[in-house]
């Protein structure tokens, strides 16, 4: 690392415009891990973070409400812990591999900034600086692209460009001219009708393995889906977001995920995904109503980006 480069703490910053679902995504992480029945679970690394983890998770599951809008740059220090099956070569090689389970802990230092912080023109300096400074010090970024918001506001490129320009300026001493972060691009709100139907029309949907048969966009199609969605934007600028990301970060350090924090509705009696009755997000009918979650949450691609980022960062740190 060049001496002029500031020390990075290998945290992960959530980055996206307002109301793109950053906090809801974090709130769904614990549920997603439990639903996967895999080796991982998430715990708080300090009292404050543990309290927030509980609050966010129970808000989503018990009250079925979305988390309140984030008002400041919040730091969550969580940890992914799990018994991971490892293999080691035996002393007598002809006996093959010996398997054993090992407790692995992956630190998750997550930074959740309010969406308005990414808008340099409108954001208060303290919020803007807070977001940029945290991104500088992060090893990973979860970038949220909300196709619905882009369809309505068409401001994704403006938000992205401002932040990346500032970030590049602050980290301009990089030898290869690209930022070193790992970036998980999350095409959010896959459960929204317009997003899901677009994917369906493009023929990108496949059925998830298992009893519930939730639809999903395969990982290798996610980037293509992102490109298609950008093309559909009214602003005509969204297609530049992809290029901008790949010019700013190393392409091999960018991955695309089609995600939904709350997932599709599942009728508690049928217990199977219903193509004609899948909307889990109940938007407010008028201004005086809150948005609600219709049923249980079944997060889609929430664990994967976090796990990939944290393993990539910690792997790099260990090199």
């Amino acid at each position: 690392m060049p001496p002029s480069e500031p020390a990075r703490d290998y945290g992960i910053t959530m980055w996206g415009a307002s109301s793109t679902g950053k906090t809801t995504f974090l709130a769904a992480l614990s549920v997603a891990l439990i639903r996967q029945r895999g080796p991982w679970r998430v715990i708080g690394a300090d009292q404050a973070s543990a309290t927030q983890l509980t609050r966010l998770t129970t808000g989503l599951t018990q009250r079925r409400t979305f988390p309140p809008a984030t008002a400041a740059v919040e730091h969550y220090r969580w940890e992914l812990v799990g018994m991971v099956r490892r293999a080691a070569r035996r002393r007598w090689r002809w006996l093959g591999w010996r398997h054993y389970e090992q407790l692995v802990t992956i630190p998750l230092d997550l930074v959740d900034a309010p969406g308005e912080a990414a808008d340099q023109e409108r954001a208060a300096p303290v919020l803007w600086d807070g977001l940029i400074e945290n991104m500088v010090n992060s090893g990973g970024i979860v970038f949220f692209y909300d196709p619905v918001r882009e369809f309505e506001n068409g401001d994704a490129f403006a938000h992205t460009f401002g932040v990346l320009t500032e970030l590049s300026q602050r980290m301009r001493d990089r030898a290869d001219g690209r930022l070193p972060h790992y970036v998980a691009v999350c095409i959010a709100k896959f459960d929204e009708i317009r997003v899901f139907e677009t994917a369906a029309k493009l023929g990108l949907i496949e059925e998830e393995a298992g009893d519930r048969r939730f639809p999903r966009v395969p990982g290798d199609e996610a980037k293509g889906f992102f490109e298609q969605l950008c093309d559909l934007s009214h602003s005509g600028d969204a297609e530049m977001v992809l290029s901008l990301l790949e010019q700013t970060f190393r392409p091999e350090r960018i991955r695309y995920f089609v995600t939904s924090a709350i997932g599709f509705y599942l009728d508690p009696h049928l217990r199977v995904y219903d193509r004609d009755n899948y909307q889990n997000h109940l938007p407010p009918q008028d201004d005086g109503e809150p948005a609600r979650i219709r049923g249980s949450v079944y997060p889609i691609n929430v664990v994967e980006p976090i796990l990939w980022l944290s393993q990539s960062i910690s792997g790099e740190a260990g090199e």
Binding site: S18, S19, A48, Q52, A72, E74, P125, V126, D287, R292
Partner: protein, 645 residues
């Protein structure tokens, strides 16, 4: 101020969202001196983060373009049926700021601002500033004392580090806001011009700028953390904070009224706090430079202190250091600070220095350091009696000075050093408060015990001696100690004789006789101590002989006493023996005395032999022919024989 209303002009801002907004923004603001950009800056700078429970109140400050200081309250709350574009409840922040000098006129509390401005619905009546009347501070309740937690928090704020209060989840908003007011009432009112605090802050918003806040958990920052309902009395470890806490606890009778009157704007920078503390006579801006003075000569007759014996051990002169309140003070600095406080107007708040000394007292100091401390104590007269401080504080001061600057327990050399430090000659007793701190009855060195008790008074001495029944051998050894100065030796000898004489008939006479034989019946000691008072010598020796042998001396005893194999008899000893001898034994006494002074006196060997040859033979030294010899029977309890007076 009690019950009085004070007119104020409040500028305001409303922060929140419209229903079509996704992000928060400034919705409206007044058209006064504070501009919209300033409102945005201060609202985001002093944000408490994402709040779960509402309403909450944040207090802060801002200057306007003309650098006029404003004190502000921000009320965070939701409104029924107000949701943003994402269907999430909108948290509105109503922000009101008032020129600090308008509030200072009535020492208006944050609670009074909240109660009044909480009634306003902003934006409904145009951008005009608000004209309102706020209730002045009621002042401290009669007999009401600030809580220990508020005192501690107020002191902690002087460190410059934020203070986080945990465990107040169940306390209501009003309680928490009033606590913020209570804390601020223990600081100069002018500090509100730079104060930021909140009744709640998100524990995961680690970058907030609040100085004082309630929270659910500690954040990752260097905050001081206190627990609601659990006042901590431990030392803070920051000079300004400890001094101030001590001052609040005992320095002034009514700090709240005094502090409410100090309304000039002032901040929490360490330089400003130093000035404030100096103004209140709490602390000194410059820590006194402490350098090792030239070693003092040992007092006449006193053994040299270890430092004087080995100058190489002396501490190097400590250079004057720049003030750094977070640095732990050294013992010399604390001692000098104590001296400054004692000279100041109200020294009762030297408690903070004593707390620092207490923390250091457990560490034993080296000989050179102790000598250094003793010099500071002497120079600044820290053992003096005329201190205008409470007796318990004075006792604590003496106790700690004795602990850090002298060996524990005190030996005789240290006792003499205490005398020197106190500026007392050996023939002058130490004052009572210092003696009580020494607690002579518990000192293992018998000389220190007897000297201290004697200085405390006849009653204490007699009481202790009666309780302890000291062995005669110990008393005689203390009395003949060559280390004692003449005034002290006289005191110890007289105490030993009078105590033994008081115990006549009950004392272990064999042990006493052995001790007297070992020390020549103390004849030489008394001759040295009272050279011009032969009658006093004779009187004391007579008492000792009475205790040891009874009222009458047998011929064998006379031979033993006056014919001591190593010590020449003195005239007062001869007089004492004569007074106790049977008339028939007087010639024996006379002959024994004569042989004694010739045989062990000043003559050189040859002359002595010639003189002894002129005297009758030794076997003519027997008792008179008319008396049968008696055998000395040591007295034992219950066996009848008692010496008479």
């Amino acid at each position: 101020m009690n019950g009085e209303m004070f007119p104020v002009t409040a500028e305001w801002a409303l922060w929140g969202k419209e229903s079509h907004d996704a992000g928060y923004r400034l919705l409206e603001c007044s058209d006064g001196a504070v501009r919209g950009e300033a409102f945005i800056e201060v609202l985001t700078r002093y944000s408490p983060g994402t709040l779960e429970k509402l309403p909450q109140v944040t207090v802060s400050w801002l200057p306007d373009a003309a650098q006029r200081n404003y004190v502000a309250v921000a009320i965070h709350d939701t409104e029924q049926g107000r949701y943003d574009a994402g269907g999430r409840p909108i948290v509105f922040t109503r922000y009101f700021c008032v020129p600090q000098e308008e509030l200072a006129a009535g020492a208006v509390s944050y609670d009074a601002m909240y109660q009044e401005f909480g009634r306003y619905r902003l934006g409904a009546h145009g951008p005009e500033v608000i004209k309102a009347e706020l209730a002045g501070s009621p002042g401290p309740a009669p007999g009401g004392q600030p809580s220990g937690l508020a005192i501690r928090v107020a002191a902690l704020l002087l460190t410059g580090q934020p203070v986080c209060i945990l465990g107040a989840d169940r306390a209501g908003l009003d309680t928490r806001l009033r606590f913020l007011d209570e804390v601020m009432s223990l600081l100069p009112y002018g500090m509100r011009s730079r104060m930021s605090a909140s009744t709640w802050a998100s524990s995961t918003f680690s970058e907030h700028k609040l100085r004082l806040f309630f929270s659910a958990a500690r954040r990752r920052a260097g905050d001081h953390v206190v627990t609601w309902g659990q006042p901590d009395t431990a030392r803070i470890g920051h000079r300004y904070a400890d001094d101030y806490r001590s001052w609040l606890l005992g320095g002034v009778p009514d700090p709240v009224t005094l502090l409410a009157g100090i309304s000039e704007p002032m901040g929490f920078g360490q330089a400003e706090i130093a000035m404030m503390l100096e103004r209140l006579h709490v602390s000194y801006t410059e820590p006194p430079a402490v350098a090792l003075p030239a070693p003092m000569p040992a007092p006449a007759g006193h053994p040299a202190t270890p430092a004087q014996e080995s100058p190489a051990e002396a501490s190097p002169a400590a250079p004057a250091r720049a003030p750094d309140p977070a640095r732990a003070m050294s013992v010399p600095e604390i001692l000098v600070s104590c001296a400054h406080r004692l000279l100041g107007g109200n020294p009762n708040f030297l408690q903070s220095d004593l707390d620092r000394l207490e923390a250091l007292a457990a560490e034993p100091a080296g000989a050179a350091d102790r000598a250094h401390y003793q010099q500071i104590i002497a120079r600044h007269r820290l053992f003096r009696a005329d201190m205008r401080i409470r007796k318990p504080l004075q006792a604590q001061l003496y106790r700690l000075l004795l602990q850090v600057a002298f060996r524990r327990p005190l030996d005789y050399a240290d006792y003499c050093a205490v005398h020197t430090c106190a500026g007392q000659r050996d023939d002058q007793p130490l004052h009572r408060s210092l003696l009580l701190a020494i607690n002579p009855a518990r000192q293992p060195d018998l000389r220190v015990q007897l000297l201290g008790l004697n200085a405390l008074g006849e009653r204490e001495l007699r009481h202790t001696l009666r309780d302890k029944q000291l062995p005669p051998g110990s008393l005689i050894s203390a009395a003949v100690s060559r280390e004692l100065t003449v005034p002290h030796a006289r005191i110890v000898c007289d105490i030993a004789v009078s105590d033994l004489y008081r115990r006549i008939g009950t004392v272990d006479r064999k042990a006493l006789w052995d001790a007297l034989v070992q020390h020549g019946y103390l004849a030489a000691t008394f001759a040295e101590l009272y050279p011009d008072q032969p009658d006093h010598q004779a009187d004391q020796l007579h008492r000792l002989l009475c205790v040891t042998f009874g009222a009458k001396l047998e011929p064998e005893v006379i031979r033993e006493v006056l014919g001591h194999p190593r010590a020449a008899p003195t005239v007062p000893l001869f007089a004492a023996v004569l007074a106790m001898a049977d008339p028939g034994d007087v010639p024996l006494a006379e002959r024994t005395f004569t042989r004694g002074i010739i045989g062990k006196g000043h003559f050189p060997g040859r002359v002595r032999e010639q003189l002894l040859a002129l005297l009758p033979p030794g076997d003519h030294l027997g008792a008179g022919p008319d008396r049968a010899p008696r055998r000395l029977i040591p007295w034992r309890p219950g066996h009848g024989h008692r010496g008479g007076r």
